[in-house]
Symmetry: C2
Subunit: 367 residues, 2 copies
């Protein structure tokens, strides 16, 4: 089955690029900016994985921010990432303002190593930057047959229940679990009703946003994505007020803030900086790895996940839907399609990539 | 400030009982049913804490189910709770069909002990029963200056995105964190739009439920709480479909299912039994304790929580609200009020308590 969770619309506004060429071009940008070869690959793999999985807002569309952050020195190309404190199952990491992907990779690997040794790895990380899609780190656990968890705080975008303005980040929660047959179970969700990327997409297409995604500066529900982003705020999952559970989305964002920033010493709420700002963003992350085999034989665990998935998928279908999805399927199918047919890149993003190549004096493979 | 998050309505339908008398009466029920003195106190404390905190659906209103479960033998008064496997930071517990509160208390204590020794305690539990409010176990970490987490799966009540009927439980997530001044930060939320207790309350009051909380048997949004509960299903946080993030609430319920049942060997989805059924419910729980002092000095952590809370509370007020709440405040204020003025108990629940006392031949302190 070929499926694209975020099909290019309108098609003529997109270039279709080969996955391998995109990966290698993105890597060359970071190498040119002084990032060690291995780290540059990690960043490129993280960004292009987002594009492959149909989370276009977190892929190469964000290259400019990373490039500017590195050039301004707020993001360090060669950080001195260090473990501040640790035990058999936990660690606190200081990312020294490295690229979020590099710091995240270091931290998740540490969580996996600790889980190999002791069953559980619990790592909280400060002094990092925007780390791309949260699911990337959770999925790193899969090849070790572990459950992976990752969360991050982020620049303020969300109004908590009862408040006006941007205070909390979209603070995503990601979880990945190994399965018997692909795709793995992958949950990767912002704790706001809609992620900021969706809002950017609606703005780009000149479309009105669904009422309930955000508010304007006075707190009214608003369908103008630009107004929401500039003057207003996104709403927490559950929406405005408490009637439909908005305080729950607010609570989830707080939970993420607790594990990623309160506990690590990272910036909280409005103190979280932007990648391209002159001062360090001091973003906080959280990572956990769980060695399934300490709890039950791996095969039994995978059988149980498959049973769970089959029961969910075989439930009677709601008449408004044509299919029941389980988390991870859409992104997996999208990445299969894009790996085969190419990755759609919005033309403005493509032009920005060309500009970056010119500025840095590196070759642009699509001319 | 005196506040009640769930004020008795209409007041004449309620009895106001003294906290201490209620606690001691509830304990006497379980002692009479063969539960050891110490365990009976745990169950009573858990149930009455729910009533104190204004989560009336999870308090003494559920006594009949526990009593019937014990009498039918599906719930064991003297279970042989055992640790199936463990490491320095994790454990798998088998609750031997004990009362959920007793099994939960055992498991969370174990998580706290492991966190004292190694920084982190991660415990997953099978063969348990309904354990009352999830927040109770998370809050057990507070007196040890730890962060506490608890989750549980539960009998099927929620239709996942795209499905008809009840499949997932309301699968709550709870987190508690120590603060400098009361109340502690306590998040305790079902991953459905509304908890089943709210639906029961609306049914009791003959009120229509807000559209968006549940669906009927054909998948239509429905405002009849009885129809939703009997023929239909609750909706996951984010509501029907994906537009407002219903797939996210579904994902959160799955995350809970993973930690509580898939990993522990407990019953999953529709296999989860009811407390009062003849066969064991095999409910699964999850507990985590995190020793804050391994990450930063405790005072610094508490200062950071207070800073976070102050910033959230001092945000500009949305015109539709008269106050900004941070999680844990409402339940704390309610418990202060009820501790002082008494606990409102719905008269039908009061009568049920009288019936139970008569059936068991124990004294009923309110006559």
């Amino acid at each position: 089955m070929l499926y694209d969770k975020s099909p290019p619309q309108p098609p003529e506004d997109f270039k279709i690029l080969k996955y391998e060429e995109l990966l290698s071009f993105v890597k060359s940008i970071f190498v040119k900016l002084g990032v060690p070869e291995e780290d540059a690959f990690i960043v490129a793999d993280n960004l292009v994985t987002a594009d492959l999985r149909g989370i276009d807002s977190h892929g190469v569309a964000r290259l400019r921010r990373y490039v500017d952050g590195l050039r301004k020195g707020a993001v360090k190309a060669r950080p001195n990432i260090r473990v501040v404190s640790e035990g058999p199952s936990f660690a606190l990491v200081d990312g020294d303002s490295g690229l979020g992907q590099v710091v995240g990779n270091f931290s998740m690997k540490l969580a996996i190593r600790k889980a190999k040794e002791s069953g559980i790895g619990f790592v909280t990380t400060r002094m990092s930057n925007h780390y791309g899609i949260a699911g990337y780190y959770a999925m790193m656990a899969l090849e070790h047959d572990m459950i992976g968890v990752s969360m991050t705080n982020s620049r303020p975008l969300v109004a908590h229940t009862g408040a006006l303005g941007k205070w909390l980040g979209t603070n995503p929660i990601a979880l990945a679990a190994p399965t018997k047959v692909p795709p793995p179970l992958v949950i990767d969700m912002a704790t706001s009703v809609a992620p900021i990327g969706k809002m950017e997409e609606y703005s780009r297409l000149g479309k009105k946003a669904p009422l309930g995604w955000g508010i304007d500066s006075e707190g009214n529900l608003c369908d103008d994505p630009d107004k929401i982003m500039k003057e207003g705020a996104l709403l927490p999952l559950g929406g405005l007020g408490e009637l439909m559970g908005g305080h729950k989305g607010y609570g989830l964002a707080l939970l993420v803030e607790l594990f990623t920033s309160v506990l690590s010493g990272a910036a909280m709420l409005r103190d979280v900086g932007q990648t391209e700002a002159p001062k360090p963003a001091n973003v906080g992350h959280f990572f956990m790895a769980i060695d399934v085999s300490r709890f039950m034989p791996l095969d039994e665990f995978k059988d149980r996940i498959e049973k769970l998935r089959a029961e969910l998928k075989n439930a009677p279908l709601h008449p408004q839907f044509d299919r029941i999805w389980v988390h991870g399927e859409k992104s997996y199918l999208t990445s299969m399609k894009r790996m085969k047919e190419g990755v759609p890149i919005y033309k403005k993003v493509f032009e920005e990539m060309r500009n970056i190549a010119m500025e840095l004096g590196i070759s642009f493979p699509w001319e």
